[in-house]
């Protein structure tokens, strides 16, 4: 009976060690997955931000201003600087 107890408890201990190590791997993978998700979401955001940046860039604004709204670029002479 003693032998069985020794076998049982030693294997239980080893199972514990194994579980711990496996858990490290599993949580490592979970972190990796979350990381991936975060990065994908970030990438989506980034694309949206890029779109904003593109649309607010000088080329686009100039196009809209000149072609659609028929504005002209202000010559520097017409800029009045208000000193405080």
């Amino acid at each position: 009976m003693k032998l069985f107890a020794v076998i049982f408890f030693s294997s239980l201990f080893i199972l514990g060690v194994t579980m711990m190590r496996t858990e490290v791997n599993r949580s490592g993978r979970a972190i990796g997955k979350l990381q991936n998700e975060v990065e994908i979401k970030e990438a989506r955001n980034q694309y949206l931000k890029l779109e904003i940046a593109r649309l607010s860039g000088p080329e686009t604004i100039q196009e809209i201003a000149q072609d659609k709204l028929h504005l002209r670029r202000t010559p520097p002479q017409q800029v009045i600087i208000l000193e405080d």
Partner: protein
Amino acid sequence: MRHPDSAHYFLPIDKKIAVITFVFICFGLVFTYSSSAFDSSSYFQRQLMFDFVGVAAAIFLSQTYSKLQAKIKPIWLMYITWGFLIWVLFTKPIANVHRWINLGPFNLQPSEIAKVTLVIYMADYLSRVQGKIARNWKLLINPAVIIGITRALMFKAPDLGTPILICGVVAMMLYVAGMSWRQIFSVAPVVLAIVAWQLIFYRYRMERVLSFLHPEKQAATAGYQLTQSFLAVGSGGWFGKGFGNSELKLQYLPAAHTDFIFSIMCEEIGLFGVGIIIFLFCCLLIRGVNLARAAKNGFHSLMIFGLTLTICAQAFFNIAMAIGLLPTKGIPLPFFSYGGSSVIMTLAMIGIICNLSAESTAPKNRPTDDFAYYKNRKKYE
């Protein structure tokens, strides 16, 4: 043979076999967990359940097997087995093969049952004709027919590993039962020819066979499993990477928790550790054969011999397969590989072995009172 009052008598379980079995069960669970938990922890839980059922079955059978056997004719067991084997052909194939019958909580694998029933039938038959085989060729017809039918049914599944294993075991039983050398030499070529024909019959088997010859060349296809297995075994080295530290189990090695669990064992506990496991299998074999030799009854003796051989030959077969000595065939490592049918049937076999050896060696004048006997058993033995 059996003592009339044995119903009230606790048959002793052979201690060596019990210890070895217990070690296998405990560490089998550890490795099942280690090799499968990264993807899913349900395998471990199910294996734990199977082990409990198996141990219960083993204890139950170790006390009652002989009585149960007396009530059933072995040929009926064969009929039931064939029934299962035919049933399985009509089930939905899993991974392209008909190997499992879905029984709700778990999948039944009829070929596992066939292993046991065939041994029972053969032991029964051979014990009756023991000694006469050599002089009478006709006596070989019966086993040939039974094996032929079983093999044919398994062959349809398709399953090749188990029939070959069964053939090997039955051949040894025939040899023990007294086949002459002349008979052996005339039957062996026929059997080998059938095996060769079956190999060619299905191309995927050929591929598997070839892959084990050149695993690196076919690394992308059939040899992939074996290549990964080699990586696992080879990177283990002398003492392995430690329990739970296997790296190939991270989805790299397919079937890491079933057929290829031995590779993961090699990786985690190294040559030293698996050396102990192999040594224990050898001990099991030696102990079983010794028990068989000690049994006083021909049927018991052949039964114990056949069952021990089935377990150990299967283990060696699986190990040889995992390290690339034999073509990869779906044969699980007894006690270790995940699988309900395999675990329960293997433990049942252990139970039967214990029962038969106890029945066979039990003293005739044992008392009817269990407790009194158990207390003074040394006196009787």
